[in-house]
Subunit: 218 residues, 2 copies
C-alpha cells in the first residue's frame, strides 16, 4: 500500500518533470540539478561558477532550501536572476516546486540555469526536476566511505565534484578508494576533485559546464 | 490528500515508537537516537563513546544505513552487541525498523543503547523511534549557517555535538554565531563542541551520557 503510493507520487512527479524539460528545451536553457549533503559546498561552488562563467553564459539560479533565503541572497549579490524556493520541511525539490519557481523567472536569453537542491545526500536523488544533468558535490571532510553507503546519489549523477581538497592534509581521506568505489557504482561518473577555497581544479568543472551549456539553441 | 497520508504514516509510527519506549523502560535501557549529516562523524563518535564508557555501562548499538554493514563492522570490532539495519533506500529509521532490530538484540543487562540513524539532517528528525533522547552531531566543516536552514533537527534534539573542532583553524566557522542561532531555535539545546580526532571536549559528552544512562532501573 505504502509502496504503491510512493510509486504514484514518483509517477506524478515524472510527468511534471517532463513538462519542465520540454520548457527548458524550448527556451534553449541548459539545466543543472546540483545536489549534495548539507555543508558540502553547493552555494560556494555556485558562487565560483558564476564568477567563472558569467561573462560567457547568461545564468540564472533557483535555490532550494527548507527555510531561509540566505543562499538566494548570497547568489543575488552576484547580480544573477535568483528565485528562492522554501520547501517548508520537505527534504528535496520536486518537479512541481521547480515549476513554481520557473513562473517567477524571466527566461529571456538565459543559457544556463542551476537549481541548487536541498542539502541531502538521499532524497533529492529520487526526484527528477526536468534537468539536463545531475551534478553532485561531496567534500573530503565527509569521509571516503560514502559511495557505497549512499549509492543512489552516485548512481544518478553524471558529475561528482569532490570539494575541499585543500583540507586533504588534515583529514583521513583516501582519494583512490573514494574514486574507485564511486566508479564501481557508476562507471560513467566524471569525478572532479577541486577546492572552492583555493580554486584548485575549478577550471576542469568550468570548462565542462561551458561546453555543454553553449551547445543548445533557443 | 498527500498531507493526510503523511499524517497517517506519522501517527502509525508514533504508536510503534510508544511500544518501543515501553519495552525500553521495562528493560531499563537508556536509548539515544544519534542523528546528523553524512560524514558528520556519527560512527566515530560512537567508537569514542564506547571506548570511554564500556567499562562503566553495558552498551549495545543499532546501526541504520541505506546500504552496507560497514558501520556495524566498525562497532562490532569493539566487542559490543551490534545490529545492522539496512533501509534499502529509505532516508531515515522509523519505529518499525528499530523494532525489527530489537528482535535481534539480547537485552539482558544492557544499560545504554545507541541507535545511529541514517546520515541525513532532515528526515530522521520527523520520526520518533521510542528513544529517551535525540542527540545530533554536526561538524564545523558543514558551515555555521545550518541551524536556521535545517531547523527541525535542531528543534527536536536535546544535545548538539559540534564535531571536528580540530579543523577550526582551517575553515571559516563562527562558533558564536552557530551557537546563538542554534539556541534561538531551541533554547534548551546543550551545545558541546568536541573533536573525536583529538579527544578535546569528549569528557563533557561522556559525563552527560554516563549520568543519564545510569539513572534507570531495569
Amino acid at each position: 500500500m505504502e509502496i504503491k503510493l510512493v510509486k504514484d507520487i514518483l509517477a506524478a512527479n515524472e510527468a511534471i518533470a517532463e513538462q519542465n524539460k520540454a520548457l527548458f528545451a524550448e527556451k534553449g536553457v541548459y539545466v543543472v540539478n546540483l545536489m549534495g549533503s548539507p555543508g558540502a559546498g553547493k552555494t560556494t561552488l555556485l558562487e565560483r561558477t558564476i564568477e567563472g562563467l558569467k561573462e560567457k553564459r547568461k545564468m540564472a539560479v533557483i535555490e532550494g532550501d527548507i527555510a531561509t533565503s540566505r543562499d538566494a541572497e548570497r547568489i543575488a549579490a552576484h547580480a544573477i536572476p535568483t528565485v528562492q524556493i522554501n520547501t517548508g520541511g520537505e527534504c528535496h525539490l520536486d518537479g512541481n516546486m521547480v515549476r513554481g519557481g520557473l513562473e517567477q523567472l524571466n527566461f529571456d536569453g538565459i543559457e544556463l540555469l542551476v537549481v541548487e537542491n536541498v542539502g541531502n545526500l538521499v532524497c533529492p536523488a529520487e526526484f527528477n526536476i526536468g534537468e539536463d544533468v545531475k551534478v553532485m558535490i561531496a567534500s573530503v571532510t565527509e569521509g571516503d566511505d560514502k559511495p557505497l553507503k549512499y549509492p543512489l546519489m552516485f548512481q544518478v549523477s553524471s558529475v561528482l565534484l569532490l570539494n575541499k581538497t585543500d583540507l586533504l592534509p588534515h583529514v583521513d581521506f583516501d582519494l583512490e578508494r573514494f574514486r574507485k568505489e564511486a566508479l564501481k557504482i557508476n562507471p560513467r561518473l566524471e569525478v572532479m576533485p577541486l577546492s572552492c577555497k583555493t580554486g584548485e581544479g575549478l577550471d576542469t568543472w568550468l570548462q565542462w559546464l561551458e561546453e555543454r551549456s553553449g551547445s543548445r539553441e533557443g
